[in-house]
């Protein structure tokens, strides 16, 4: 992997970190606010189904996490285990795709109803 690609990945990780920081705050505050008086699964689904803003927010959350986590794992693998190379990059790409798939299916479950 060229130094330019590595620098671009670092940039992607930094930008995704900024988005995640915002998303996590909104996520936590919303949960704390919503469940103050107790909230059942049925009530949650009633609010999230068909809510495009909600869906867009969590799609952004999922995609940011899928970008951020594999780049960080690559760094940990390099520094702690001395793992590097194409096979590792391939593995982490698969991991990123799994995160996207699992995350988006969860978003769809809440938005579209499952």
């Amino acid at each position: 992997m060229s130094a330019a690609t590595q620098a671009r990945l670092w940039y992607a990780q930094r930008i995704s970190a900024m988005i995640l920081a915002l998303c996590v705050v909104v996520h936590i505050v919303t949960i704390v606010y919503a469940v103050r008086g107790g909230l059942s699964g049925v009530e949650i689904l009633a609010r999230t189904r068909g809510n495009a803003v909600f869906a867009a927010f969590y799609v952004l959350f999922v995609v940011s996490a899928a970008i951020h986590a594999p780049i960080g794992l690559a760094r940990i693998a390099e520094e702690w285990l001395q793992w590097r190379g194409r096979w590792l990059n391939g593995l982490l790409l698969v991991f990123a795709l799994v995160l996207v798939a699992v995350g988006l299916s969860a978003v769809w479950g809440l938005y579209g109803g499952g």
Binding site: A3, A4, Q6, A7, W10, R75
Partner: protein, 240 residues
């Protein structure tokens, strides 16, 4: 006169060496380098260590003192001895040569790797370059220019320990001063050399280098700026 005695453990040999204990008279205003010199001249002439100027200019005498990398000529025993005990070892993150002497070659090779050489385009026949002393770039270069190449930052850096190909704080600090040198023309070449996982983007901002630098330089600041600069250049496709 002070009659106290210091108990000094000094690393002897290479990686398979061991600490050897010496008793050294405690003197007023005594530096760690004074202690090492006393041992070498009075107790064991086979002790190897490195020093030159003794006044904090040359950067030769850095060692690990009670677990912390320091310049020994300007480190007073009174500041670092714990209950009259000193433990001296060569700098970390560098190959051992013998006793207190580390092999500095990898350290300076990385300065070259970070394109740490100034490259200008004027000759002696041209007029002097005019650099405004209060310009942002000149001030940024000033902040890092006093590095004496002692290797304390490099020996203190966790990231160098974890990934030995990382250029390290001193080489990147040097690159940062040159990036801010308006006369230098090797900018793109240098950016390519310092970008990426073995370059500035490896830094985890632990700030050990800035904490330990005896000259009060903060390489972390320059490295952070280099990260942003090179990443933006990469996004614009300027790093190739």
């Amino acid at each position: 006169m002070n009659t106290e005695t210091l108990r000094v453990s000094i690393w002897r040999g290479k990686t398979d060496g061991r600490f050897v204990s010496y008793a050294v008279p405690r003197l007023d205003s005594q530096t760690v380098l004074d202690v090492v010199t006393y041992v070498q001249r009075t107790l064991d002439s086979s002790l190897s260590y490195r020093f030159s100027c003794r006044v904090g200019m040359c950067g030769s005498c850095a060692m690990t003192v009670n677990g912390v990398a320091r310049w020994t000529c300007r480190t007073h025993v009174s500041k670092v001895a714990v209950d009259g005990v000193l433990e001296l070892a060569p700098l970390s993150n560098l190959p051992m040569i013998k006793d207190l002497a580390s092999d500095m070659a990898p350290f300076f090779d990385k300065w070259a790797g970070a394109k740490g050489q100034f490259k200008g385009e004027r000759s002696r026949h041209d007029d002097f370059a005019s650099v405004q002393p209060d310009s942002v770039k000149r001030k940024a270069a000033d902040a890092g220019i006093e590095c004496i190449g002692c290797g304390v930052c490099y020996a203190s850096c966790d990231t160098v320990t974890w990934r030995p190909d990382y250029l390290g704080p001193a080489a990147l600090n040097r690159a940062w001063t040159l990036v801010n040198d308006e006369r230098d023309v090797a900018g793109n070449e240098r950016m390519r050399a310092i970008a990426g996982d073995a370059g500035c983007h490896a830094c985890h901002t632990h700030t050990s280098c800035s904490e330990r630098c005896p000259k009060g330089i903060a390489p972390t600041l320059g490295i952070s700026a280099l990260k942003r600069l090179t990443a933006r250049a990469a996004m614009r496709g300027e790093l190739g």
